[in-house]
Subunit: 178 residues, 2 copies
């Protein structure tokens, strides 16, 4: 079945993307207003580890520190889906160009949660999609950790490991997997 | 404030990524079981337009048609955040290599919604992050449309357009933006 998506999620997502990147680069000191104290924002450090912050105040400080005024964003794609309990999910791909004219591809995911008037950004995850670095099948890793939490190695075709009943993904016939 | 993330979202997200890509390439005929009838799956067509499908049956047919057995996935990063009302959001970046040995970078976003036993994939958005195509500032577009719905042009630094009160993103001082 092809999906007839609720029009408003599309409208909300596209309007958000337009507003967000405009304000991010024109008035980064105001971007924190897209968020609430319950929001989480994740940004990679220069060594690739991910830092996550919460609260509007910490998010504001993180965004200011990243000096987006020095970058220009080119948005390539913005794909929107309706999500859980009235939320909207957006996957953006594009490029950030710094003052050094180096252009780096990125992908960014937002979860827009409904609130009394409109929506706020509950989740914001940003990753550069590196150009030059060769991807080694044997050395990939999951970097979705908070700061210095240990990273779990993840093979490209991982073995199925025993996993708790609570993570029972395959809700039917699950027993054949673990 | 640095965020102390609830450990289980991280565990859930990482376990999901391991399982999902393993089964996607080893047993693609079973992958639909990660989804429910309310799930939405979006995949780009060869011309870059996005197709979205819903229901387990349609998702199964779409996944089968994509012939993932002919591809090898290398997962580069998997970043996880707790999300709305017990959900978990995951942004994956990596590469798919086909039988032609062409390696294409991708990013993929999942929203894992809680259910009685564990979670299911409510949202799944996949995009290739193209290597060769130059990104033109003047010709970027939002491709988050369902099938043949019209695409809205989006400049890299868009003008702020009037927008309905319902999309009141900046919940304070909003009047200064529109």
């Amino acid at each position: 079945m092809q999906m007839a998506m609720h029009a408003s999620a599309q409208v909300v997502g596209n309007a958000f993307v337009e507003q967000y990147y405009h304000i991010l680069h024109q008035s980064p000191e105001l971007v924190y207003k897209f968020y609430q104290d319950s929001s989480v924002l994740s940004r990679p450090e220069s060594d690739g580890t991910m830092t996550s912050v919460s609260t509007m105040d910490a998010i504001n400080r993180k965004i200011q520190a990243l000096e987006y005024k020095n970058y220009k964003a080119e948005i390539k794609t913005a794909d929107v889906q309706e999500s859980y309990k009235g939320g909207v999910i957006v996957l953006v791909t594009g490029c950030l160009t710094g003052k050094d004219n180096v252009r780096r591809k990125f992908s960014q995911t937002f979860f827009l949660a409904p609130q009394k008037k409109g929506y706020f950004v509950l989740n914001d995850v940003f990753r550069y999609v590196e150009e030059s670095e060769p991807l080694e099948t044997t050395s990939t890793s999951v970097n979705g950790v908070i700061d210095s939490a240990p990273t779990a190695p993840l093979a490209s075709e991982p073995e199925i490991a025993p996993i708790s009943r609570a993570l029972c993904w395959l809700h039917r016939s699950v027993s054949k997997f673990w």
